[in-house]
């Protein structure tokens, strides 16, 4: 198993922390992992993206030109990464703020209205966990049990009381994902 | 009376401190460095801290201070002595750590290092030799060179429009909250040297008490650089340097 994921959106959407939780979940499942962020001024309000690789074997390059899954949370990122998904791969996007929906026919395209869902469940900060849930529904590369373990490792102990809320957000994401194009 | 009759312990009025080595100093006759070295060595002996003292020597004439004061020394890059002293003191809080720096070293190239070490209140002693000129490199202008003073790089006299005003760095240091004791002294006569020695001792005692940085400026002569005889250099210093760099404590808390 080798899963190459690009997560991209605005700084502040929890792109990097979502990637970190996913990577930590991989470690809990005894996988090899890399987490490679874009870094610098774009973290403060511009676009941010992170490449996460989960694998059964040693990972060589942490830098990719193509990925299995792209998780896209704004228009700029969609423009930049739509073509990066390998044929047969998966693109998950949040339609909030998207003016031009993804066009490709050779990949699975899913939408997750994570802003609305997070608001509905009264946990707007859990936005990225809704997205993570949507991803896990499509690609169950790590078990939910290991994701919760990964969450515990990724966030400071003083915030562990928030874990049930995050679990709820993940469940909501899993439930509410919509498939827009199947192959 | 035979010389042997005179050379008895009970007749001894002065002896060189053993903390000062017997190496002949390279300083020019009349230079203040030798006197200040001796005062530091005497303070170290009197306080019984030879095993606990680490000196940081500068770039400048005093680069070879380690040849004369018999303690462990680190010889720093130009201006960086306060950085060495900071790390040494923090890694060895039980030691007495002092820097010995000239005006080019401390007040020009090492301005950032001295300001920040003093501002952090490192528990170190700084001995600052201010003779208004670069001695070792051959008499060039220093930040503390007086207006009108001729040097190799201000051959027509220091012109404020061209070179800026003399930097009274000790006054700046005294403003910093990290310093506990800032004083300006001289060693041109016995009385002044005694006062300087008391100041150096106080500075060393302060560092053991953890009160912050102690800074002792010694307004000094460089008779070779000034192109004056030792006696004339002392007189010139009193007449011209003292009005610009007045004697006394700037801070003592």
């Amino acid at each position: 198993m080798k899963e190459e994921i690009i997560i991209a959106g605005f700084g502040g959407q929890g792109v990097l922390s979502m990637g970190k939780i996913l990577a930590y979940s991989g470690i809990m499942q005894d996988q090899e992992v890399t987490w490679m962020p874009s870094y610098g001024p774009e973290m403060r309000g511009g676009t941010a993206n992170v490449t996460v690789i989960l694998s059964d074997k040693k990972i060589s390059s942490p830098i990719l030109s193509k990925c299995d899954v792209a998780i896209i949370l704004n228009q700029q990122s969609l423009d930049k990464f739509e073509e990066s998904v390998k044929p047969g791969g998966v693109l998950i996007y949040d339609p909030n703020g998207i003016t031009r929906v993804p066009q490709r026919k050779d990949i699975t395209i899913c939408s997750i209205a994570a802003v609305d869902i997070a608001a509905e469940i009264g946990n707007s900060k859990g936005y990225n966990m809704v997205v993570l849930g949507a991803y896990l529904k499509m690609r169950p590369v790590v078990t939910l049990e290991n994701v919760i373990k990964g969450l515990k490792k990724s966030i400071p102990e003083r915030h562990h009381s928030l874990i049930p809320m995050n679990e709820k957000a993940i469940a909501a994401g899993m439930e509410k994902i919509e498939i827009k194009n199947s192959i | 009376m035979d010389i042997k009759d005179i050379m008895k312990p009970e007749n001894m009025v002065y002896s060189k401190t053993p903390v000062l080595t017997s190496t002949t100093m390279h300083y020019c006759p009349g230079c203040s460095h030798g006197t200040v070295h001796k005062l530091i060595a005497e303070v170290i002996e009197e306080m019984g801290i030879q095993e606990k003292t680490i000196g940081i020597s500068p770039v400048g004439c005093a680069v070879f201070a380690y040849n004369y004061v018999d303690i462990d020394w680190q010889q720093a890059a130009h201006g960086r002595a306060p950085a060495l002293a900071t790390a040494t003191k923090r890694l060895h809080p039980e030691k007495y750590v002092f820097t010995y720096q000239g005006d080019g070293d401390l007040a020009s190239i090492g301005t950032a290092e001295i300001m920040h070490a003093c501002n952090r209140g490192e528990n170190i002693v700084v001995i600052f030799i201010n003779n208004g000129i670069y001695g070792m490199t051959g008499g060039q202008m220093a930040p503390t060179t007086l207006i009108g003073m001729k040097t190799a790089t201000s051959p027509y006299g220091r012109d404020p429009k061209l070179h800026g005003m003399p930097l009274k760095i000790t006054n700046l240091i005294a403003q910093l909250d990290g310093t506990c004791y800032v004083t300006r002294q001289a060693v041109h006569n016995a009385a002044a040297a005694r006062k300087t020695k008391r100041a150096i001792r106080k500075a060393f005692e302060n560092s053991a008490l953890g009160k912050g940085t102690s800074f002792v400026e010694v307004v000094s002569t460089c008779n070779s650089g000034w192109k004056l005889s030792p006696v004339a250099a002392n007189e010139w210093m009193v007449e011209n340097m003292f009005p610009e760099y007045p004697m006394g404590d700037l801070k003592d808390r």
Binding site: K20, A23, Y24, I27, E32, V33, T34, W35, M36, P37, Y39, G40, S60, S61, P62, I63, L64, S65, K66, K153, S154 | Q50, E51, K52, T53, I54, I56, S57, V63, Y66, D70, I71, D72, W73, Q74, Q75, A76, A77, R80, A83, L84, A85, T86, A87, T88, R90, L91, H92, K95, A112, E113, M115, H116
Partner: protein, 359 residues
């Protein structure tokens, strides 16, 4: 098995420092390595191991704090990125001249000048050929993973003290910013002052009546003394070249062509090798782990079996010159590099490799 923690290469450096008995860290913030000091300040090791951590006023000051700490026989380190390293070069020359052990981490970004904060490998010459003035060398280790960032801290200190010489970890923005799982090694206690006095009799630990004063200096105005000092240094560098060469070889034994790459580019080229092998191209990878001393002998050993070599770097071709020297004209030595913080993909490297052999 010890627990594995997900962390950035930069964070790994900080944890390794605390756990390997480092006495002091002195640094100044600069992207992309600020997490090193941030992690140390967060961890507050002065409360546990007694390690000193200080944010200095500049890189110039940081490196001179190392000079002071190293003079005392303490394990001291700093970290910075390219522009900061330029400021430290004065101090590195003094440290090498005074034969002081210390660790300097450079998480390289693109230059020259203020350049970019994105990854680069343009500081190879500065690290391996001097940087500061005078005839000196540093031991230069190039990690290619977060685990190696961790492990090379202890290794660097070991080598630095073995040779009484500065050691450098030459990393890059990718390896510093990337998170991977890292196994924390068992804690090593800091050396006691008694141990330092015993094993580092040269250190400025305070002159006791039983020994002469210790003086740490790089100054030697006597020509004969100064020449002797230089010969002492050269002898050490020679010994390093004999004893400390480290490299990793990936599928080189049956290779017809070999890529030479270090740090992040070695990781990327490893994927390139996998792709090439799938296409039936016999491509291998030689990853120098020590950049000084450089694995000249290994290149020399490989050359008779090879048709070409290619140096792949995030620079305009710096390590290339060392590869060329080792190859000595026997086979073509090609080059591929990207700049501006652009890190090429494995596919891009493969393409460049194919172009190079079809020229």
């Amino acid at each position: 098995m010890a627990e594995k923690i997900l962390m950035k290469g930069n964070e790994a450096i900080a944890h390794a420092a605390i756990r390997c008995g480092c006495d002091g860290y002195f640094g100044y913030p600069i992207t992309p390595q600020s997490e090193i000091m941030e992690t140390l300040m967060e961890e507050q090791p002065w409360e546990t191991t007694g390690m000193v951590v200080l944010q200095a006023e500049s890189e110039t000051s940081s490196i001179n704090m190392l000079y002071g700490g190293a003079s005392c026989g303490k394990k001291v380190m700093t970290s910075s990125s390219s522009p900061g390293l330029s400021l430290m070069c004065e101090g590195l020359s003094y440290l090498a001249g005074a034969e002081l052990p210390c660790l300097v981490v450079n998480v390289v970004r693109g230059g020259p000048g203020l350049g970019t904060i994105q990854p680069g490998q343009g500081d190879y010459f500065q690290a391996c050929k001097g940087g500061g003035h005078g005839d000196y060398r540093m031991i230069v280790l190039a990690p290619a993973s977060a685990q190696e960032m961790y492990d090379f801290v202890d290794l660097s200190f070991e080598l630095a003290f073995k040779y009484r010489n500065p050691a450098m970890i030459l990393s890059d923005g990718v390896i510093g910013q990337m998170m991977e799982k890292v196994e924390l090694r068992p804690m090593k206690p800091r050396w006691t002052n008694e141990e330092i006095i015993k094993s580092m009799p040269w250190a400025t630990t305070g002159k006791t009546p039983d020994r002469k004063q210790n003086v740490i200096t790089s100054l030697a105005l006597d020509a004969a003394v100064h020449e002797r000092l230089n010969h002492t240094l050269i002898a050490k560098y020679k010994q390093m070249e004999d004893e400390e060469v480290r490299f990793e070889s990936v599928q080189c034994e049956d290779a017809e062509h070999v890529i030479v790459a270090y740090g992040c580019m070695a990781r990327i080229c490893e994927s390139t090798i996998e792709m090439a092998r799938k296409e039936g191209i016999k491509l291998g990878l030689l990853r120098p782990i020590t950049l000084f001393p450089f694995p000249k002998k290994e290149i020399n050993r490989l050359v008779p079996h090879l048709k070409s070599m290619m140096s792949v770097e995030l620079s305009t071709g710096q390590m290339l010159e060392d590869v060329q020297l080792a190859v000595n004209g026997r086979i073509p030595v090609n080059f591929f590099g990207r700049l501006g913080g652009i890190v090429p993909s494995p596919e891009e490297v493969l393409e460049a490799f194919k172009n190079s052999i079809n020229k």
